[in-house]
Point group: C2
Chain length 217, copies 2
DNA sequence: GTGCGCTTGTGAAAACGTTCACGAATTCCG
DNA sequence: CGGAATTCGTGAACGTTTTCACAAGCGCAC
């Protein structure tokens, strides 16, 4: 089975496997199994095997997977050898937390700059990340080779920010703004909406509630 | 079609529709169509119609949907009339941002307390949210009727925190910790992993790259 | 009223994702 | 060496989600 095309659902799980593999390696395990990986990733073992089969990687029947080799295969599939500089737009509570977040750099996504419209903070730094004004987005992207923009602005500035990022040549956007931003086909947007997540949880809580009184008879 | 069972995929989109409806109402539109909603939600019009059909709600053929009535129906399906108090665990960069985030309260998810293991900050407040120590989780949950816990701790404290939340009676967990937490069946966990999101974007960037040189011939 | 244009609601088809179940490959042990 | 125990890889079955396509209902114009 060639590395031809990896389903989206699988791609979304690869980072979880990679993390599990790193932990296993740190624990000194040389080999592992789909059962162990499934347990750690919180999924079904068959799913692990099928996911890994898309990588064209091969475990050994009766034995399992070589942790080092599998780590290499998953890393290669994800392209983690690449470093993708990121710019964070909007330095509210969330944007500031993202700019300070050290986990990004560790995984190959260094925050090279932040952008905010407030002139009081442009020119300053947030944990060594320089803060610029929005009209400098194009320069920043060009200077650092930024491919990913993070939008953490208020909703009403999100589309405008996205437009600036796209015009500057950014090809991927991670949007925390609780709005749907429209971009050209060649740009990928992933939306993380914290309120929506809570509303989904709230839906299930609500569902489990005893049926309401006062319904129309 | 009865309100019997709403597919998960639909539930995940209802908050987006609800937001669009609120905007349309604010703009003074009395009626709208699946096309308009689809445009705003960034989805296919047929999907909007099918999603809404699960609510047992009825638009008017040839006319569209009544914005006020549809808002009511979607709100009811989501159970937004309920208020679900939330406790935020872990006051690092992200936890602090979440505790300060005003959007939660606006949508019926007030952050009633925060929890951190650092004795230097327990007893203080973060934007009026009181900070307690982890061993007070049970009391907090009981006192405020908390049903949802947010985990924003470092990864190594996540499972432990989840256990405390579950023991205290929390039924839903929103996990930002980049780990897979294990909980009993009656507890729902949603995971938001920021690094994973970036890695998925990175995967596609990597895929679009010209094929690497130096492959085995 | 009758006809026309618009928009919903929904079967049916297609695409996608998950899980099952089992053959095949490997190791280990007696 | 032969058989039991593992564990992978994968075709097939199943379930979910998306999309299509069109009949049915509604309003307006005349």
């Amino acid at each position: 089975m060639a590395t031809g095309h990896i389903p989206e659902a699988t791609v979304a799980r690869l980072p979880v496997y990679l993390r599990s593999l790193t932990e296993l390696a740190a624990a000194g395990d040389a080999t592992t199994s789909s059962d162990v990986l499934a347990e750690r990733a919180g999924v079904n073992p068959a799913k692990v095997r099928k996911d890994l089969s898309y990588l064209g990687t091969h475990g050994t029947r009766g034995v399992g997977y070589d942790v080092r080799h599998l780590t290499f295969e998953v890393s290669r599939a994800l392209g983690v050898a690449n470093t993708w500089p990121v710019v964070v737009c909007g330095l509210g509570n969330l944007g500031r937390a993202l700019a300070k977040h050290t986990g990004f750099t560790e995984r190959g996504f260094p925050v090279v700059a932040a952008v905010d419209i407030d002139p009081a903070i442009t020119g300053t730094t947030v944990d060594d990340v320089p803060v610029h004004s929005p009209d400098q987005i194009a320069e920043l992207v060009a200077a650092h080779g930024v491919a990913i923009g993070v939008i953490a602005t208020p909703g009403n500035a999100a589309q405008e920010t996205a437009d600036l990022l796209v015009a500057a040549g950014v090809r991927s956007i991670l949007d925390f703004s609780s709005t749907v931003v429209t971009v050209p086909d060649h740009v990928e947007v992933r939306t993380v909406d914290l309120s929506t997540e809570l509303q989904i949880l709230g839906f299930h809580l609500h569902q489990d509630l005893p049926p309401e009184v006062g319904k129309t008879p």
